[in-house]
Symmetry: C2
Amino acid sequence: MQTATRQNRQIRLAARPQGMTDASTWNLTQETAPVAGPGQVLVQVLYLSLDPAMRGWINEGESYMPPVAVGEVMRALAVGRVLQSQHADFAEGDYVSGLLGAQEYALSDGKGLFKVDPRLAPLPRYLGAFGMPGLTAYFGLNVVGELKDGETVLVSGAAGAVGAIVGQLAKARGCRVIGIAGGADKCAYLTQELGFDAAIDYKSQHVAQELARLCPQGVDVFFDNVGGDILDAALTRLAVGARIVICGAISQYNNQQPVRGPANYLSLLVKRATMKGMVVGDYYPRAMEGLQALAGLAQQGKLKAREHIVQGLEQFPQAFNMLFTGENQGKLVLQLSE
Amino acid sequence: MQTATRQNRQIRLAARPQGMTDASTWNLTQETAPVAGPGQVLVQVLYLSLDPAMRGWINEGESYMPPVAVGEVMRALAVGRVLQSQHADFAEGDYVSGLLGAQEYALSDGKGLFKVDPRLAPLPRYLGAFGMPGLTAYFGLNVVGELKDGETVLVSGAAGAVGAIVGQLAKARGCRVIGIAGGADKCAYLTQELGFDAAIDYKSQHVAQELARLCPQGVDVFFDNVGGDILDAALTRLAVGARIVICGAISQYNNQQPVRGPANYLSLLVKRATMKGMVVGDYYPRAMEGLQALAGLAQQGKLKAREHIVQGLEQFPQAFNMLFTGENQGKLVLQLSE
């Protein structure tokens, strides 16, 4: 293979979006692929993860990570195969995951790069149930949410990459689990495929009324990926001592007005409840614990996952917006190469 | 004394208010004072506590206590003297505190009634630093807020009955303490009398800008009595792992629109912070621990308190609104009798 002529197509941030991203947000650029130097590996990216949090990474201003700069390759989690290695921990042919970026070839110094095994699970699953979303669900529910066996758990974005796992982890602990999702198909998936006790279709049902009906004793843990009206509805149904895990607020990420604060937040006082934010990266030092629990559950047939795979780097702009329109069914992944 | 002719003047809820209470909210009524029966005590109320939480008690709807019914004597904490006792735990002449109601004479079965000692502190202080507000500050800061020595503490409503104690408790633990209050007088009181490190006058200063200047490393514990804009400003200055104690939201209690939710609540996520509601009654079983700590601090001269005393039950309607206009200087108390 002539490495000198290998071309690397990349998705770069063209301009900070106002509201939803569109074609003008991104540039598809091309440059000569790099070559691994001492201590480096060159990875061919096979699958790119598309996650709601990425919308936050392209806003200006302080967050838990610096924003992606205009002109930079878009930050993205990915799974790929090592093509060249001058790093002691990685060999050519290894499969790896990490923040490789929205590009076909990525250089890495090995930091934050993890080996994954394609014989144990299909590669895209390492971007979903056995990756960042799985760990988010596991640590969010157990550590941040302090889940106890048998509690009542509510999860929003329940058919999404994180929500679907949250529900199954809670079911495995004997909890009653209610999911909120958009559309009858997603709701049927939750109750018929994943074993949720009930699902609320926020597009056709009145969430607060359904919660009152389904959770007469209140909600002990609310795992929120959505924010906005759904968070406000959940705040009306807290049990005393409830914990709300603020994992995300996908309803607010494309706002052009200021974020809608939860008007019912004084329920926290009335119910002596806790609302706590999380960033999954804080738990990466304990990742092994989470991955073992997830793998164990999967072996028992208690952890189902599905990936929604879109083909081709050039589809990045359209595919990215599927996260916010709710078109994806399962963990959204862009496949760059076989 | 002719107990048969003793008259009991009472403040009763006349109508549920929209927004601020006014004369039409209350009725001053009079009836023959009751007589203690078996197991009962009759208390002459000497000092009535006026607390922001009382505004919530007269709203319709679910809260941590049932609402005061229209026509009922207004619920209120008070200190009084036992006039008659047919209860083994109380003797005539004992001084007691409890939820005696906005009235001159109250019957009690002894539940929730505590003896207080007028030789150890002036009676009104048992409604302030050595009463509900003091316990709110102590348990809110230490248990709910999980305060650690040396942290940076921000408190809103800092010159109020709870806020002033929060600041002094935090100072005693070696913390840097910033108070938010309304007006130069209150701010001077915080820094010159109570030893706060800094004070922000929300009426004349830009709170978020002052916080950025005063807390460049962020706030570890924010004890919030106020809500609204001040809560939103504080959310912009959280340190990683910050705890927000939601003790109240005095800025929102007289709203005729829905409560203003904190638009910056996603800072909880970015900063892995916690927002937790509290109701002081949950900690009454541990009251002795808090009272001993408060008394110990007072003995060392590290706990200053002041009461703002208004004379006469008939002043209840006007005095009550002082809580929301900020006119009171210190714990607001209505004196009914010498």
